[in-house]
Point group: C2
């Protein structure tokens, strides 16, 4: 990951994702890559721009994506990082290989929570691959089978942006490279590169017209309800990951115990008066037992770390859902717009599902069917 800038970089910060695949999946290499999100703070005139760059865990098999919980936690941490570090920024730009299709859970989570807009969807002009695809079938560096069932290619690299109360930001044009380097038979990389031209407009926001308020509130409530849905979906995915990690840790523990039992048994037999083993087999078996014990010990530690990270993310999501639901309760019920000026029916707390302190599931359906 790199950020090059003609504006001076004043400050930087790097956040390493807590989860990023498995070290023993060495042929996938993601764990060794050490995925993170980097931030650079630029001053453009009197404005502050926070520019982020990231790369999330790859998807190797869409049907049976064992890395999905990790990627969802990465998307969760990415949105947290951007939200919490961009409060003082006048504009936010994120570029990166998100390894997620436009409507994938992590992508929806990121965009809904941060309010970032997709440059491809917002651009006035576009010049590039069909449907903005960045991983295309024609690329000689990729395995076409991995694209299946998307024969032509997929869009997994993004430029996202948002302004602030001081700044509006528009995408005037966007382009992607289209395969080979001019006059060469090969492309620059396995992905197509993205370029976006963004235009800034500063303003003083004085347009809080009171007649627009109810509509704004309705739409905000709708967005909040949708966000509750998305976070709940992410929570479910993380729970699946938790279940898998628990099972893996259990398997590692059981294998370790079996290795230990084998070692004890061997030593007990060897301590007896008769030696039924040839010495070679004895040493080989002992070495095998030690290897099993060491490997399962390392795996146990790794899975414990994975479990703690997943559990932490799940806890944070539970708390976030609770907080979002409380915010939602503060909004008036969606109502016909001709009721303007009349007394507003404020949702009474008793209408809302109770006992949602621990689980968002119970609250979710009730909330979202009403508000959307």
């Amino acid at each position: 990951m790199a950020i090059f800038s003609i504006h001076r970089i004043h400050d930087t910060f790097l956040f390493r994702y807590s989860l990023n695949g498995y070290p023993y999946m060495a042929h996938h290499g993601d764990w060794f890559g050490g995925k993170a999100v980097g931030m650079a703070v630029l001053n453009i005139g009197s404005l502050t721009a926070n520019v982020y760059v990231t790369h999330l865990h790859a998807e190797y098999c869409r049907d049976k994506d064992s890395y999905l919980p990790h990627r969802v936690v990465q998307a969760w941490e990415l949105q947290q990082f951007i939200r919490h570090t961009s409060a003082g920024a006048d504009m936010v730009i994120l570029g990166g290989d998100l390894n997620m299709h436009p409507q994938d859970l992590g992508n929806r989570l990121l965009r809904s929570y941060t309010g970032l807009q997709d440059a491809y969807l917002e651009t006035a002009k576009f010049d590039g691959c069909e449907d903005g695809m960045t991983l295309i079938a024609d690329n000689p560096f990729i395995n076409k089978k991995e694209l299946c069932p998307f024969e032509k290619g997929i869009r997994i690299d993004y430029i996202l942006f948002k302004g602030s109360t001081k700044t509006d930001i528009y995408c005037d044009y966007m382009s992607t490279t289209k395969g080979s380097v001019p006059n060469h038979p090969f492309p620059y990389s396995d992905h197509e590169a993205l370029t976006a031209g963004l235009r800034l407009e500063t303003h003083t926001r004085t347009e809080t017209r009171s007649d627009r308020q109810p509509k704004i509130k309705d739409s905000a409530a709708g967005k909040l309800a949708a966000l509750v849905d998305i976070v709940t979906e992410a929570r479910t995915e993380v729970k699946v990951g938790l279940h898998c990690a628990e099972r893996m840790r259990y398997t590692a523990t059981r294998t370790g115990v079996m290795g230990l039992a084998l070692l004890v048994l061997e030593l007990a037999i060897a301590a007896g008066p008769e030696q039924p083993f040839p010495r070679t087999s004895f040493y080989l078996l002992a070495a095998l037992c030690f290897a099993i014990l060491l490997t399962t010990f390392l795996l146990y530690i790794f899975y414990t770390m994975e479990l703690k990270a997943l559990q932490g993310a799940e806890d944070q999501m539970r708390l976030a859902v609770g907080s979002l639901q409380e915010k939602l309760r503060g909004f008036p019920l969606a109502q016909p717009h001709n009721a303007r000026g009349g007394p507003q029916r404020v949702m009474s707390p008793v209408h809302w599902p109770r006992r949602n302190k621990r689980g968002a599931h119970c609250g979710q359906s009730g909330l979202c069917e009403r508000s959307l």
Copy 2:
């Protein structure tokens, strides 16, 4: 680490430090503890409070503190995390076991960069151990030898705070526990607990009196210059860490190569027509070689990760020093205050040391001798 609050926690975020000791130092246990800084966002009335909690790597030997570079990088990441996530906060509170004395490098780095104030130094009333000590010699859970040469104890736990342009924050009282639990022969923990009463005052800052401006600028320039000094000191410490990590990785590589050479030699001899080894020794030696190869491979990966994290922090510090120096150039020279109203001599860029693009060392002495 835990945050308990009577105000609802609306949002959370956790940052794991990139460096935290070594897994093979299992008797110290810090690596297994997984140190981090946690943040909780509370709404207190109409105000937003960011509350942070952290625990840095312990210091086991002050004279020969091999963990110092790790702790300095943790302090660096802590200040980055607080600065970048607190832009929207009306008040910031940090509590934690920093494992640093009040004037230690990491502590100065944290307080200078964030502007956080030490509750012990700011409190109107104090009731507790002498000098605010939190790790006292009387505690039965600690090893008194580790305190040496501070026989009575040390102050390594802190409550730090700061307000904002909207809020002033004052510490009305502070206390520590003083050894044993009332009516019991043992204390609550190996550290004394801290309590602080903080008072908030909100205001609209309209007091930008123009006659105070020059003095404020001088003091800000002095603080900036001091900060440049501190970051440079931290950079030096990180460089020492880099040197150590490089040496360790080199040792691991060399040992691994020797293990491989031994294995190849053994196999070459075994492939010959005569068998000089008893079979048992052959297998034992081969097992030893494999153990060496595996261990050095794991160590190589670990030290590479350590190197990358240290190098990353060093790069960030270099960039920060450059940015701080540029800011400093924008300030007028310190001048006699009776020159008020006269034309201000603005520091010309040619007065400043050049060629400091990569090194802060050359810039530092020039800057700080002038401004302090």
